[in-house]
């Protein structure tokens, strides 16, 4: 066997197999997925509420929603994460995983809100007028006509937000959480090898994001049926 293959296999063994280090990566991956999934759920709910507030006629609700979006989007994720951990939830005894999920969710909510708002406002006015002219109420028009069309329109950007979110969770270690990045850090710490743990983590992230993009692309194609012409 060529020498570089020997040393490569040694490095792989040292960094992934020895001392069950792959288990550490798996555990980190689990946390990364938990945070991202929980956060996209929270973010979607917040996003829908904030988006509806922003397109409502009520100036107060509009204002609140606008402040929320502006503040959250204007602060780096890491800073928000630490604010949540060291300030807002400081007096509360809550698992770190939950704190991280909430802060990523609150953050994602602002981005989701903007995505949804753009989607809602992107539905042609005529669709709304047609609904109203048939006697449907404002709310009925919203959820029977505008939102279903907006959902289809925002799906690509929304899935992109999920992909972005997965990558953003890499800062979770700032509050001492072992996510995928931290797990690879810990292996790097123990073996002092930069290559294998970092590239392994990178490969896993890439699989996750590509897999998701692929999954959502299929969903989009199914939803796009009505656009065939």
């Amino acid at each position: 066997m060529p020498e570089f293959l020997v040393s490569l296999s040694q490095a792989l063994y040292q960094n992934l197999v020895a001392k069950d280090r792959w288990l550490l990566l798996l555990q980190g991956l689990g946390n990364t997925l938990l945070i991202a999934l929980g956060a996209i759920l929270i973010g979607t709910v917040i996003g829908v509420v904030i988006a509806l507030m922003r397109v409502s006629d009520n100036k107060l609700l509009q204002g609140i929603a606008k402040v929320y979006v502006t503040v959250i989007r204007g602060i780096p994720m890491v800073t928000q994460l630490m604010i949540f951990n060291f300030i807002i939830f400081a007096p509360v005894d809550m698992p770190k995983l939950m704190i991280a999920t909430i802060s990523f969710g609150v953050n994602s909510g602002a981005y989701c809100a903007e995505i949804f708002r753009a989607g809602i406002q992107g539905v042609p006015l005529g669709q709304k007028e047609a609904g109203r002219s048939l006697g449907l109420s404002k709310a009925q028009t919203m959820y029977l006509i505008v939102i279903p069309q907006a959902v289809k329109a925002v799906l690509p950007t929304y899935t992109n937000e999920f992909v972005v979110l997965i990558k953003e969770t890499a800062v979770a270690s700032y509050i001492a959480l072992v996510d995928l990045t931290k797990a690879s850090d810990m292996i790097r710490n123990a073996t002092f090898n930069a290559w294998v743990p970092l590239l392994a983590a990178a490969a896993i992230y890439l699989c996750l994001t590509l897999g998701l993009s692929h999954l959502f692309a299929r969903l989009e194609r199914r939803l796009a049926r009505s656009d065939r012409g």
Binding site: A130, R132, S133, L134, G135, L144, I145, R228
Partner: protein, 240 residues
């Protein structure tokens, strides 16, 4: 049936409707013509309050629809509207487009609505299109379905806002003939259009609007044969 009193509408600085008084009786087919920007579409859209009138009253079946206390959604069920751009719901099939409002507003059960939709589609010869999406249809087909969608609500009056202006010329005929059939069935109709032939043949009364006012109105014969107002004479000389 519809009584309009001193209707005014302004968009910020722009004074679009300058005091309109008009009564439309049951069974009438009123055609509104006029140069673009004369306020004819705005007038029509005020009738079911898609545009909020700035002042004035619009009485429909005994209720002033400008009054904030009236249930405008309920009244709109009785006023069908057809748009220039068809505005079929793009995410729903043809059948769903027609049944959505009657079912959601609890006027018809799902089964009855479906049966009605098929009966209406049958009448316009598009029964085979029930399960396709609007984007797969031609403009003329879409507009005929939009008319049928409004009819499914069993309206007392139908408002048409330039229903043929966005159509390719070869499709104008099919839409106009459907409207003509509707007129023959006795539907009360208010039609904003540029189709002078339709106005002459189908209309029971023709209104000429210019600069936010109804300048002249008459039966089609008198209207086209013996126009009084110089602006109408000028307009007709250009379009005929």
């Amino acid at each position: 049936m519809i009584e309009v009193k001193n209707l005014e509408k302004s968009f910020k600085e722009l004074h679009v409707l300058k005091g309109i008084n008009e009564t439309i009786h049951r069974g009438e087919k009123v055609v509104i013509i006029g140069p673009s920007g004369s306020g004819k579409s705005t007038f029509l859209r005020c009738l079911n309050r898609l545009e909020e009138p700035t002042s004035g009253e619009i009485w429909f079946e005994g209720q002033n629809i400008v009054d904030k206390r009236c249930d405008i959604n309920k009244l709109r069920q009785k006023m069908g509207m057809v748009f220039q751009q068809f505005n079929l719901f793009s995410h729903l099939t043809v059948e769903e487009n027609i049944t959505l409002a009657p079912v959601k507003l609890k006027i018809l059960s799902q089964e009855d609505a479906r049966a009605r939709a098929h009966e209406l589609l049958e009448r316009i010869g598009l029964a085979d299109k029930a399960s396709v999406y609007p984007s797969q249809l031609s403009g003329g087909q879409q507009q005929r379905i939009a008319i049928v969608r409004a009819l499914a609500m069993n309206p007392d009056v139908m408002l048409f806002d330039e229903p043929t202006s966005a159509l390719d010329p070869e499709m104008v005929g099919e839409v106009l003939s459907l409207m003509r059939k509707l007129a023959e069935d006795g539907m009360t109709m208010v039609v904003v259009t540029h189709e002078m032939g339709f106005a002459r043949e189908v209309g029971t009364r023709v209104l000429f609007m210019d600069e936010g006012q109804i300048v002249e109105q008459n039966t089609p014969g008198e209207f086209f044969g013996n126009p009084q107002n110089p602006r109408l004479q000028d307009f007709l000389s250009k379009v005929l």
